[in-house]
């Protein structure tokens, strides 16, 4: 992962292509947006080279956050930060390579299904979805829950176990077409995350050719780990953009809000609470820069994930209080805060991150890297 830097000409070009692509769609569903990004060459430009560059990822998420509701951004984020990198990682069958190319063109939408119906999301080692390998086939049974794009994807990357042992080598990825016999999809209930297509999957003897395997059997969790740091960085970059956007709006609202013969912004106590939010926002940016500049290791990404969730919740919670009742109106920050609580759950719950951080206490106390 390369460091966040001043925009290079390549990033400036990337941003221009991005804005052009988004201008062609305006208000859009996740699919229309994905199509536009693919058609405009944005997805191909983003994944060009060894590793999606942090500054392109930041440009993408900042622009999407400014224009679309959280659920729609989530739909794109999961694909760009995790599903596509896994799909495009290493040698692939003709079928898998074809789906990867179609996804880059925006013609195929992806979901990434790791969280299992049979286990806590924080303990993938216990997941219950099985993949039985035959000479030419793979047969899936089990279920997945809370999967972004479950209801909208054309292909679902499914993490399953091909061996019973509780070991990281017991897992593989299967690319399941959305119309595969034996696959059923149920939308998640509740009114949150509109546009994310989030839902639950169940597999009843879903039988596919072995050319639907993504990567080698035994490498499923290792491949996931290779890319999880990028997913967590994407979460941090998105959270940073969200903080800046909401704080800018809040600053404006405070300057317009009458309070004791002046404005709320003139009140010292209010200014201090706002300043605290700026500090939290900068903490997110600093940790993202730290992860970009470092080795991109798993421990650093866990520190980032846990910290981002806390800082974002603090910023959005304080903005709700600072804005007052108007925060609860349509499109207000109260709703955003409720949805953004997912930053402490999706892709790694804060408790699990802290457990991993504690396990590496000695490494983290080992002084500056």
């Amino acid at each position: 992962m390369t460091a966040i830097s001043d925009p290079s000409p390549a990033v400036t070009d990337f941003r221009r292509a991005l804005v052009d692509a988004l201008d062609t769609v305006g208000d859009a569903t996740g699919r229309e947006l994905w199509c536009a990004l693919g058609r405009g060459g944005v997805l191909a430009a983003h994944t060009a080279g060894e590793d999606p560059r942090a500054d392109r990822l930041r440009a993408l998420l900042t622009e999407l956050d400014a224009r679309y509701p959280l659920g729609v951004v989530l739909s794109v984020c999961v694909q760009v930060a995790t599903a596509l990198p896994i799909l495009l990682h290493g040698p692939a069958s003709e079928h898998v390579a074809g789906v990867g190319a179609a996804a880059l063109r925006g013609e195929a939408m992806l979901a990434l299904a790791a969280t299992d119906s049979a286990a806590s999301g924080s303990d993938l080692m216990d997941l219950g979805t099985t993949a039985v390998l035959g000479e030419d086939t793979v047969v899936l049974d089990g279920g997945k829950r809370w999967i972004t794009n479950a209801g909208t994807a054309d292909h679902l990357l499914v993490l399953a176990r091909h061996r019973p042992q509780r070991h990281f080598t017991s897992f593989l990825w299967v690319l399941v077409p959305a119309d595969a016999p034996g696959l059923t999809v149920e939308p998640a209930d509740g009114s949150m995350f509109a546009g994310s297509g989030v839902g639950h999957l169940s597999f009843d003897a879903v039988t596919l050719g072995r050319d639907h395997l993504v990567g080698a059997p035994g490498r499923g969790l290792a491949t996931f780990s290779r890319h999880i740091a990028t997913e967590r960085l994407a979460g941090g970059l998105w959270a940073g953009a969200m903080c800046r956007r909401v704080l800018t709006d809040t600053r404006r609202a405070l300057a317009d809000k009458p309070l004791h013969g002046a404005t709320a912004w003139d009140n010292d106590a209010v200014r201090q609470r706002f300043a605290r939010c700026l500090v939290e926002s900068r903490r997110i940016d600093a940790l993202c820069a730290d992860v970009c500049g470092g080795s991109g290791g798993l421990v650093d990404s866990m520190v980032l994930k846990a910290s981002v969730a806390d800082s974002l919740d603090r910023v959005l919670g304080e903005c709700v209080q600072l804005i007052g009742a108007d925060a609860f109106g349509a499109g207000g920050v109260a709703r955003l805060r409720a949805e953004a609580a997912m930053f402490g759950v999706a892709g790694g719950a804060t408790g699990a991150m802290l457990a991993g951080v504690a396990d590496h206490a000695d490494d983290l106390l080992g002084g500056p890297r």
Partner: protein, 86 residues
């Protein structure tokens, strides 16, 4: 096992201390958890520029230092990789 392998292995084994790591050393008993096992796989593949064959990606391969070294050797890394320890 070559010295480079043992040096690479030691930071992943939080209970190994300064004790000798032998072919029979149980990696789990010495503190290798699942997340570190993944990182160890990356370290091996980066250090030796090999890819462990699919059939050797098993819990047995990661059970002892000797099994893991044997897997690395079978991926094409010879004794010339470093001085033999045991």
């Amino acid at each position: 096992m070559d010295t480079r392998f043992v040096t690479m292995l030691r930071p992943f084994l939080k209970y190994a201390g300064a004790n000798e790591i032998t072919l029979d050393s149980s990696l789990r008993d010495l503190g290798l958890d699942s997340m570190q096992a993944v990182e160890l796989l990356f370290a091996i593949e980066d250090t030796y520029q090999v890819s462990l064959p699919d059939e050797l990606l098993t819990d047995t391969t990661f059970a002892t230092a000797g099994n893991l070294w044997a897997a690395i050797e079978s991926s094409g890394v010879g004794a010339e990789a470093g001085a033999k320890l045991c």
